[in-house]
Every structure is written in C-alpha cells, then in structure tokens.
C-alpha cells in the first residue's frame, strides 16, 4: 500500500480522489498502531474479562492483556467468570489465578461484580495489602447477597472509595474508622445494628454519600460536626426512613448537591412554622443543586412544604421528577414558597402538561427572579405516562407556556423529549 505523506492543510484535488482518500482513512486500523505501553493502559481501563477477550482480535493483541495485567493498578472482575453452571468453583479458580499473577506492589481499584457469591476473604486481603484506594463489591447479578464482609476490609487505611451493592454491612466491634474515606455508595445494603451511624461518625473526610434502597437510616446519634465535609448526598427509597430524613438533612451543614427520590418527604414539615414563609428554621447555605421526586399528591404537598420551611439561599439548579399520571391524582395543592434569588436552571422530568405541572411551572416563573431556563422533558415513547402530542395540542401547550408571567425577563421555557438511553 502506498503511504500518503501527511500535510497540515488538505490538498485540493478532484472530488473522486478526495473521497477515496477519505474512505481509506476510514478503513485504517489506527488502534493497533499505538505503542504497547498505551494499549496496556487502555486495556487496564476495561473490565478484565473484556481485556482477555481481546486476545482473539489479532496477533498483535494476543498477548497484550498479559503485560497489562502484571502492571495494572485497576483490578476489575466484572461479569461471568465461568463456562459451566459450576459458577462458584470456576470463578474462584480463575480469579485466584489472576490475583496470584499480579506483580505490582500497589493497586488503586478493586472491583468485583459477580454472578455468584464466593468466599472473597483472600481477595480482599490481597487488595488491602496492596493499599487499595477503591473497593467496589456488587452482587446484584447473583442470586444471593454477600452475607458477611471480610473483617480485613474495615482496617484498610488507604481506602478512599467504598461501594457496596447487595451486601450485609456489619461493622466489627472494634472499628477505628477510615481516615481517608471520601465516598460511600451503598445500594440495597442491609445495615446491621448501628453500622452506618458508626461509619459516618468515624469517617471524618466523607464527602459523597449515596444510600439507595438500604435497610436503615442514621438516627439521632450523629451530629452536624460528623457530617461537616459531606458535599453530595443521595437518598433513594426506604419508606421507613421518612421520619428521620428531615432531621438527618438538617445536619448536612455544607452539602452542595442533594438528591432525594422514591421517598415520602413529610419529615420536612417543622411544627410551628407551617404558615410562616420567610421565617426559616433550617437553612442549608451551600446547596447549589437539588433533585427531588414527586410521587403522589401528598408528595407534591411535601415538596412545597420543603420550599416554604427550608431555606436554600444559593440554590442554582433544581431537578424535579414527576411520577406518571399526576392528572389522575385527586386533591388540590397550593404552591407556596419564597423568592429564589440564585435559581438559574430548572429541569422537570415526566412532563405532560397537566394542571398540577403547569401550576408548578407558573410558580417557578413567578418566584425565580434570575431564572435562565426551564427545561420540560416529556417521557420517552413507550414509557408510562407517554403522551403523543399532535401538532395542534403541542402548539397550544407551547403558547400557554409562553404567555405565563415571568419574573426574570430572559427566562426561556424549553420542551424536549427524554434523550437518555
């Protein structure tokens, strides 16, 4: 193949030749030409199973994953590690093989997303010994949960990120905390005794907390001082939490991003302050982004209570997710709340133009004096609550929205379809 000399400026040639060169470019195998060291690095960024499967791509790739493995700082065991139904034994054998052939003395990440629940003690010890920074254990795909976390996990000083999914969390009696732990994400974790509370108290550097559908919620033993570094907090699910949510959130003195979904929010009503907007008992001064979900008519009422009773003086972005069929909810709610001085962007998901949603849009246009944009996202075709607008009704809805009075002159109202996959 004749090698074309590269120049910075494109050569103006006749159209056919240009097309041909363009096509030749499209057919080139650029990736295999990268130096070994870079390909090793790229392979270390993908799960081990996928990396090993690249051995079949071509002769160049056959042994690449082996050099990658010896030196990688990311150990990513995600997927099915067995060929037969003997998941358990095959998985143990294969992972053991890899763990024992790893040469480097330190690792950054240890990730285990398996479809079975083997004895992970040895592997966790191996990771802790290598001063691992991130541990991610996920047993969502397996039929059983991980019932017991290896005790060695709790004495890992180097840990900065801990992610657990479908496990049982029980702190040992003697727990000195994780001095560098910044991120904790727990999904469907069964929390035993007061493990979560103790974790929060003994991990002073914690910045990012996410609790999704977990079994327990921190009680009153925690003080605001324990939570002072938390910048991002995400809470999903768990109906038995409601009573404690308000109290917990009020202690997150420096939180910047707050997400609350799948939960009843009546913990936000503060007795004695129901009808006194402007007289806020609880202020979260650093919150810049708030994400809330409106599940039903009570949830909607709680939503406005939250805005009335709590103060978010620096709030810039607000995301509201609507449950489908709000037009079928019976009852009326009067929007209430004070002026927002910093709110710039609002996004509403699950928008289909019914009266309660229009009421909320009107409310925010009136109260957000510095508003830039309200984005109204209609549900994707096929999802619950999907409404297909014909030209006429879409036009009418749009007109109605444009006619609403706006406190901020430059505020735009945008309707778009849900683009997420």
């Amino acid at each position: 193949m004749r090698k074309k000399k590269r120049t910075g400026r494109s050569i103006v040639q006749d159209k056919n030749h240009k097309n041909m060169t363009h096509m030749k470019n499209q057919d080139e195998d650029h990736i295999s030409k990268l130096p070994d060291a870079i390909l090793d690095h790229i392979l270390s960024l993908i799960p081990l199973k996928c990396a090993v499967s690249t051995s079949i791509l071509s002769k160049r790739w056959k042994e690449l994953w082996k050099t990658m493995w010896a030196d990688t700082t990311t150990l990513d065991f995600c997927g099915k590690f067995a060929t037969s139904d003997q998941s358990y034994h095959d998985t143990c054998d294969i992972i053991n093989r890899f763990v024992h052939s790893h040469r480097r003395s330190t690792i950054d990440t240890f990730r285990l997303h398996l479809d079975c629940v083997p004895d992970i003690q040895e592997w966790v010890e191996f990771a802790v010994e290598k001063r691992v920074k991130e541990i991610d254990l996920d047993f969502t795909k397996s039929m059983y949960r991980l019932r017991k976390l290896p005790p060695r996990l709790f004495s890992c000083d180097s840990l900065t990120i801990l992610k657990l999914s479908d496990c049982n969390l029980k702190l040992p009696l003697v727990f000195r905390g994780f001095s560098s732990l910044r991120v904790v994400h727990l999904t469907r974790v069964e929390i035993i005794q007061s493990s979560l509370e103790r974790m929060l108290v003994y991990c002073p550097m914690l910045e990012d907390l996410a609790l999704k559908s977990c079994s327990d919620f921190p009680m009153s033993e925690i003080s605001a001082a324990d939570l002072k570094n938390i910048k991002s907090c995400l809470l999903i699910g768990g109906c038995n939490w409601s009573a404690n949510v308000g109290s917990f959130l009020s202690k997150l003195a420096h939180v910047q991003i707050l997400t609350i979904c799948q939960m009843m929010m009546h913990g936000f009503k503060v007795p004695g302050y129901e009808n006194a907007p402007g007289n806020f008992p609880i202020t979260l001064p650093d919150v810049i982004e708030l994400q809330l979900e409106v599940l039903n008519i009570h949830s909607l009422s709680d939503f406005y209570d939250l805005l009335t009773n709590w103060n978010f003086p620096c709030l810039e972005r607000l995301m509201v997710k609507w449950s489908p069929n709000s037009c079928l909810w019976s009852g009326r709610v009067q929007p209430s709340g004070c002026v927002f001085h910093c709110l710039k962007m609002i996004e509403m998901n699950g928008f289909y133009g019914d009266d309660k949603q229009m009421q909320m849009v009107t409310f925010f246009l009136e109260k957000a004096v510095k508003l830039d944009t309200i984005v109204l996202v209609t549900p994707k075709e096929g999802t619950e609550g999907y409404v297909r607008y014909d030209e006429a009704s879409f036009g009418f809805l749009h007109e109605q929205l444009l006619l609403l009075p706006k406190a901020s002159r430059n505020a735009r109202v945008v309707i778009q379809e849900d683009e997420r996959r």
């Binding site: 799960p47 002769k59 067995a82 969502t140």
Partner: protein, 193 residues
C-alpha cells in the same frame, strides 16, 4: 509587567502557534525544554501536525482557565461536559491526539483520550471490536480455536437483560433469607452441644 509570556510552538508541517506560557506548561515535555534549553526561537514539535496541535492547544487553554481542583462541583461538571464534547472526533484524530498527548506528556489529555477508547471497547464482543476499529482477523481457524480454549470463560456472554437479573434476585430472595435463618439455627445448636 505582563506575566503572560508567550511561547511559540512549531508543528511538524510548519504551522506556528503562539500560546501563553501557562497553557504550554501543561505539557511536561515542553516544560522541560523551556527549563533546559533556550526556547526563544520557538519549540519545534516534529511529532505533531498543525491540525492536531491546534486541538491540543484548545484543550490546554480550557484546562488552564478552569483548573480541575476547584472546589466547586458546578465547575467540575462543566469541565467534564466540555471534555466529553472535545473527544467527539474522528477515530483518526482521536488516535493522533493520544500520540500527541503521550509525546507532549499531558497526563490529563492522555487519560481522557485513553478512557474514550476504553469506553468504545467496553461491553463489545471481539467481532464488534474488530468492526469498530477495522482490526484484521489474521488467525487461522485452528489458531483461533486455541486462543479461545486458553481462556474460554472470557468469551462467554454475560446475562444481557438487566430486568431478567432483578427478577431472578427477587424470586430467590425469600429462599436466601430462609436459608440464612436455617444456618443460624444450626450454629446455635452446635454452640450448645
């Protein structure tokens, strides 16, 4: 008075770029050249074409304006979004960016571009990977069979349907809880023997 000293960079095909020193210093390679050698006549970069160098400079400019260790989540998110758009380029350009980032020793750009390629590989079967990157399959059927046999588990498909998985979990949840209770009972019995 102006501390914005300008550095001249020369690409392999003769284009020149004048950039602020702070922008150029994002490249460790350039940093060493400036420290060790007199760079008044401009720094030649024989391994990078003008088109790619322009992109690299664009990246460095953005990352000087918005430093990564800002405490503000909003700035972090904005920068991430910009980075995502920045790497939406032709495969050829992407790979030349990798080589340039490697040669110029710009750690964050190398990280970004390599992660982009890794994301293009993740979750694909070998056949799909070959198609995406135009990798020629040179193995004979016997050779291919041998490679497959060596690590057969790596070529097995995972469960594809996420909903399926959750259903399996829910169905068996009662079973696992019950089994757990049984085990505990057995332990207690042993303790009292």
């Amino acid at each position: 008075m102006a501390s914005t000293k300008k550095i001249t960079l020369k690409s392999s095909d003769g284009e020149t770029f004048d950039v602020d020193q702070a922008v150029a210093l994002q490249s460790q390679t350039i940093k060493h050249v400036i420290e060790d050698v007199c760079a008044d006549n401009g720094i030649p970069l024989p391994n990078v074409t003008g088109k790619i160098l322009a992109k690299v400079i664009e990246y460095c400019k953005k990352h000087v304006e918005m430093p990564k260790d800002a405490d503000d989540r909003a700035t972090e998110d904005e920068l991430k979004a910009w980075d995502t758009e920045f790497v939406k380029v032709d495969q050829a350009v992407l790979f030349y960016l990798i080589l340039a980032a490697n040669y110029l020793n710009i750690k964050s750009l190398l990280s970004l571009t390599c992660q982009t390629v890794a994301d293009m590989i993740k979750g694909k079967t070998p056949e799909e990977i070959r198609r995406t990157f135009n990798i020629k399959d040179e193995f004979t059927p016997e050779e291919e069979e041998e490679v497959r046999r060596e690590n057969q588990w790596a070529f097995e498909r995972n469960i594809k349907n996420a909903e399926e998985e959750v259903e399996v979990r829910r169905e068996n949840q009662w079973a696992s809880e019950w089994a757990f209770a049984e085990e505990e009972e057995v332990l207690w019995q042993w303790a009292f023997e």
